[in-house]
Symmetry: C2
Subunit: 385 residues, 2 copies
């Protein structure tokens, strides 16, 4: 607040450019006169900005309005934003699969591709699958690699600002991996790496369960639970990118890991074995006492983790996702427990995007990056909420 640009003319030129571009996208092929009116900028300023945007390939002259042409002689020039001026990728790199989504600059999805990956695959093998999926996707869509403006990536772990995985125990060879740098070798455009739960939160806000909520927590309710939060519609990464990595909280009490809690044999489950978890949930549904106990223990832990997030953040909405199956069973107990312990219990719902959440969120982050370049640069203006 209060850091408007007092004395930087080049910054104000960029702001003017952003204002004009935004007005261009908001209107249907506006004229220069319209742009001057809605922006409040001078006509020479608007003309200069529009010429610059045309040179940059971001704006094109639109067909003139025929009616106007006949009435007034030479028709007023009209302009449009070129959504086809570039493309974006959203990539999920998960334990069992990699997936990629392709879109234009307007965020319209043009295609997708995916590959199955072994849980035990090395980082090199996993990245090779990513490259193969992306190559197939671009080829099928007929989009040149040089047309990519930004690539978003969602993956488990705590991710540094430069895309290095600070800590990622879910995938072999992930901790310490310079994931951003590795992927940048394949692309000439910016590559943005984000924690998978964070990306999923962004996705549900864009086109999922949180389309109408700006303050949400997305809980990836796997055996290694993680969470992503939006605050005021913006992703909350935390100072070191570790926000929502609530898994360590149980170590402070007497509670055990989900892997142990869900065990019906005394042997911990394998962290990534979703099928085994689904079996425990199914047994519990069928009335198996040991499975029911295991599920109750797991639920207690999940409630505790989610409650900690809810008490700290006070979101409007909690979205539970991450497992393909079985989560229906956690929803009601979670709601009931949160209502008991939270001063202002949030709504609790299941993920709408399911398996597509992480790649969709990664795509949105790529789109955000490009829009931030187009509509604002570091230190410039954006709308307050």
């Amino acid at each position: 607040m209060g850091r408007l640009t007092g004395g930087d003319p080049s910054l104000l030129r960029r702001i003017n450019s952003a204002v004009v571009l935004h007005a261009l996208r908001a209107a249907d092929s506006p004229t220069l006169t319209h742009l001057v009116e809605v922006t409040g900028l001078s006509r020479p300023t608007v003309e200069g900005v529009v010429e610059g945007l045309i040179e940059a390939g971001l704006v094109a002259e639109a067909p003139a309005d025929e009616g106007t042409a006949r009435r007034q002689g030479r028709p007023a020039r009209r302009f449009r934003f070129r959504t086809e001026a570039g493309h974006l990728l959203g990539i999920e790199i998960g334990p069992h699969r990699v997936a990629a989504l392709l879109s234009d600059l307007g965020g319209r999805v043009l295609g997708s591709a995916q590959r199955a990956v072994e849980e035990s695959a090395s980082a090199d093998d996993r990245l090779e699958k990513v490259r193969a999926a992306v190559a197939e996707l671009l080829r099928r869509a007929g989009v040149a690699r040089s047309s990519l403006r930004a690539v978003g990536v969602g993956s488990p772990g705590i991710v540094e600002a430069d895309g290095t995985v600070r800590l990622g125990t879910a995938l072999p060879g992930w901790t310490g991996l310079p994931l951003g740098d590795r992927l940048r070798r394949s692309f000439r455009c910016p590559v943005l790496v984000e924690n998978d739960a964070n990306a999923a939160a962004v996705a549900e806000h864009w086109k999922g369960a949180a389309a109408a909520s700006d303050d949400i927590v997305f809980v990836l309710a796997g055996l290694s639970p993680g969470a992503g939060a939006l605050i005021g519609g913006r992703l909350h990464r935390g100072f070191g990118g570790a926000a929502g990595e609530i898994g360590a909280l149980h170590l402070l009490g007497r509670e055990a890991t989900p892997e142990k809690l869900l065990s019906t044999t005394g042997q911990p489950l394998h962290p990534l074995d979703e099928a085994q978890v689904a079996r425990v949930f199914a047994l519990a549904r069928d009335g198996d006492a040991r499975a029911r106990d295991a599920m109750d223990r797991f639920l207690q832990r999940l409630v505790h983790d989610v409650a900690a997030l809810v008490l700290a953040l006070d979101p409007e909405l909690v979205i539970v996702g991450g497992w393909a199956a079985g989560l229906d069973d956690v929803l009601e107990p979670l709601r009931a427990e949160l209502a008991r312990y939270c001063l202002r219990p949030p709504r609790v719902t299941l993920s709408v995007l399911g398996e597509a959440a992480v790649a969709t969120g990664a795509l949105r982050l790529a789109l955000d990056h490009v829009e931030a370049e187009l509509f604002a640069v570091d230190g410039t203006v954006t709308a307050r909420r």
Copy 2:
């Protein structure tokens, strides 16, 4: 992001006004020509804005530069922001005292006043003490009540957007109290009510331990613990104003309340009895085994609460405040435990502002409100970080 004002001319006029006012404050008595240069706006636009600001009493003509006057005949007019155009109050309403700070529109503190209050005082009696302290403060400073532009208030409890206390167990008669409305009877200007821990967080960021950090958690480490968080330099209130009210978390586990944990007799301490707590801490320092056990139990609980906040939010800095004495003893254990459990442990430090934190934060919130009115209105531009 990307919500720049495409098509609202009145909004753009307000933005222009904010840009000019900001440039006016940033420069030392600038000329119109300077304002035109740094804002990129047209001269007529700048002239119109400046005239409007003079009419509103926010801007005055400054003495002309003598040198320029002699060289070029009629000197260029110069302008300045009038910090004396209005005043602000920051008020703390606590269990044991009420306090008020007075400042000008630049945030310069002009005076303070306070009153002791009984813990058991009714809401009416407490508010009467507030009125008395404010009246004394205004009289001593020679400032008319009509000159107040905004009043900030910090008080325990979950506070609704309109200033109603949704839940406040620390003060008698506080839950359900329309605190904002009650205080608005005494003032003609906006009254902003905020949770005390939130206000303290804002204060430490303004002029305390967090002056260099934008991502902080302030823990009011009393027997009823609460916390305030800044994210990216902004207060995080949560969707329902309950963010950081972490006190219920222990109910989920087997841990008890701090009142019980710190007891050395089996009888819980009184929630507000800081002297009793200080005695337990002192006994523990002297090697009393029971006091040491009590303090260890209390620390374990505090660590758990703070860890939940840290894992959820990932702040750069945790500031511990709230008790006048004894907190030195919690700092080192808290650091050690957080380092064990947090993937990225934050720095941990004591409050710099101490008892002044809540009123100072309330004052800053009043100043923020006025600056938001001056420099941006709902939906308009502010600087991105």
